[in-house]
Amino acid sequence: MLSLEGVTKSYGAVAALRGVDLDLYPGEAHALVGENGAGKSTLVKILAGVHEPDGGSFRIAGQPVRLASPAAARDAGIAVIYQEPTLFPDLSVAENIFMGRQPLAGLRRIDKARMREESRALFARLGVPLDPDRPARGLSIADQQLVEIAKAMSLDARVLVMDEPTAALSGVEVERLFAVARSLRDSGAAVLFISHRFDEVFSLCQRITVMRDGAWVSSDATSELTVEAVVRRMVGRDVSTLFPKQDTEVRDTVLEVRGLTRRGVFEDVSFDVRGGEIVALAGLVGAGRSEVVRAVFGVDRYDDGEVRVGGQPLPGANPGAAMAAGLALVPEDRRQQGLVMELSVERNMTLTRRWGLSRAGLLTGGAERRTAADWAKRLQVKTSALTAPVSTLSGGNQQKVVLAKWLSTDPKVLIVDEPTRGIDVGTKAEVHRLLSQLAGEGMAVVMVSSELPEVLGMADRVLVMHEGRLVDEIQRDRADEESVMLAATGQKGVSA
């Protein structure tokens, strides 16, 4: 029904897709898997008409098509749930679902009653009691995702594309979503499903396409594949070699977090981190890990609790003070929080050290250039020039810039939030090696990660969060996939 052949797409210097083939058939659910940055979302955007491919052919029902806009894709019967929810915060949920194609009554007026009823019906099918009249502002990520799903469902599309729709959902909601997807599939629609959760992939899909570094690797029937085989194809090598954390001598406690609470987000979070160890914060997306580390660093305020660094209490909501005390946070959203995309590599790298590099309050440029060049070399940042805007760098190199920016402050405690999200295989290994090395030098490292293998491979201790609470602490030797997932899904009480 829908077929792509040899599709290529570049963002400036980054080749996001380099010859991808994909065939979707009616009545079949097709999974697309691949590492972060493999190009899955880019492929989705091409299907959605957001981007036009640079090359390759695109056919629907055998006819070559050109989707110049999202509206064109929609009219061609393609419904898309994007990875990042794209809602209108000021508009009601019902309007969000039907924007651009609201049901009309006489005189082409929008039929609000019908819109509301249809939204209710959609939510009923999904089993969530969302009020169609409330504004989208303030919806949790999960609810936002549900609105996106309802939106896609309402299209009655021939092709349903879902880019990690379940990342923010709990088991119950995932099951409902799957029920809906299956019924769509059984009524003859083609489904393209993207997820990092293999259990979901294997339970929903009949066929799996693997991508790596923007290229097509394989497409096979699910029945012929195992999880291990898929992972091997995704990564291209043995997984275990990726995580070279060496055992190091553990030193004194550097960071103490006591009873940290932010109402409605996380509650009573306490933990210690010692020099030389890597502590991982694990949990499902939305468990509140990022919020905890943001509060520790002082970007967010908290209602209750205390943070101490080297025994000294840290004032809340003051990142500057946290930095002075020796804290560093590599945030999860590189583009929004980690980097100033318009500024040069050099300026980004030295942004955290601008006072340290100045003499008598003045920055002469030389010191900045030297520091930046030094770190670029140490982390092997590939860039045309240090004066090039950081936005022209590939994702992995951007991540290295963020790391350089924080490592150059010579922190006592390094907090990294999803340090390897969106970066390629080689860089990932380098980042892991670096973290391990830093811990070896006595730094305390807190790592928030959603990637279980990363957590298991790197962490000396795993702290697991569930719905804003710290529910488990697992030592390295006892940590395995099952124990972490059990705690992360809330199926284990608070352990000793």
């Binding site: 957001v50 806009s69 508009l91 609201q102 009020d131 303030g138 909601e173 997306v285």
Partner: protein, 345 residues
Amino acid sequence: MSLSAPPALPATVSKQDSLLHRAFVARELGIVVALVALLAVTTAKNSRFLETQSIQDLLLGASILVILAIGQTCVVITKNVDLSVGSVLGLVAFAVGKFFVTWPHANLLVALVIGLGMGLACGVVNGALIAVAKVPALVITLGTLYVFRGLDYSWASGQQINAADMPASFLRLGTRTLLGVPVLAIVAVVVLVAAGIVLRSYRSGRELYAIGSDATAARLSGIPVSRRVFAAFAVSGALAGLAGVMYAARFGTIDASAGNGIELQVVAAAVVGGVAIVGGSGSVWGAALGALLLTTIGSSLSVLQITPFWQQAINGALILAAIGLDRLLALRLASSLRGGRPHGA
């Protein structure tokens, strides 16, 4: 805790019921209350403030500002701003006067069409520059504010058009009443109702809100963003043109400086009426009420015999109070929306 506890589902749907609507009503109601209070205080001081004649005058005084505020609302909702409306008004008003000077017996409708057409043309210039070339509206309309006014000045070159130069039938439009309601106010109300309905109940109207709320999401939803923004500026221009015709009819005396500086009042009216300058929310009803409130303040200050020096200061304070109040309401709304549903996961 039982195995696989289902996520806590909100038992609070009824509490949240149409919060959006309530916030909307609260905002508009606030202005109405302020308006009523103002009328009450002024009338208490001087009973003749509420006579037919003065109500008529009030409506007449507000109608031009209301028309401009409606156009501005369309633009501001999309997260843009049109600072050139005052200059467009001036240019059109002079053109209409000049038109009657040249063809004293021309049909009134022709003048109206010319005014609307010129305003539209100005709006199209703004819209094309902003939507097609994708440059910031603030800078472009600041530029066209100068350009249109400069054209107006050099065209008029010191000329003034007087009531005697225009047909009495045209001027009568400016003062005439229909069932006790001034014609110009009726025009404003018709435009208001039309714009209100389009913005509330038509796809194109709702899409303006969508664009202002999140332009990227709008693009992903298949909304022709550039075209809609362009249209918003065209509408604002056309309405400024209409306001120019009304200005000519009402004041009868026109020189090139008509409407000079009115843009800030227009933006103020919209902001006071709850149209968020960051786009995505607000209504023409609110903006119209804002315009009415500003006009009423002007009249009552003089009736209350408050020294005129205070008037501008009070206007400024009012704008600050309005955006502050808006922010407060938004925060309230946000916090009441939070916590309703603890966690999706």
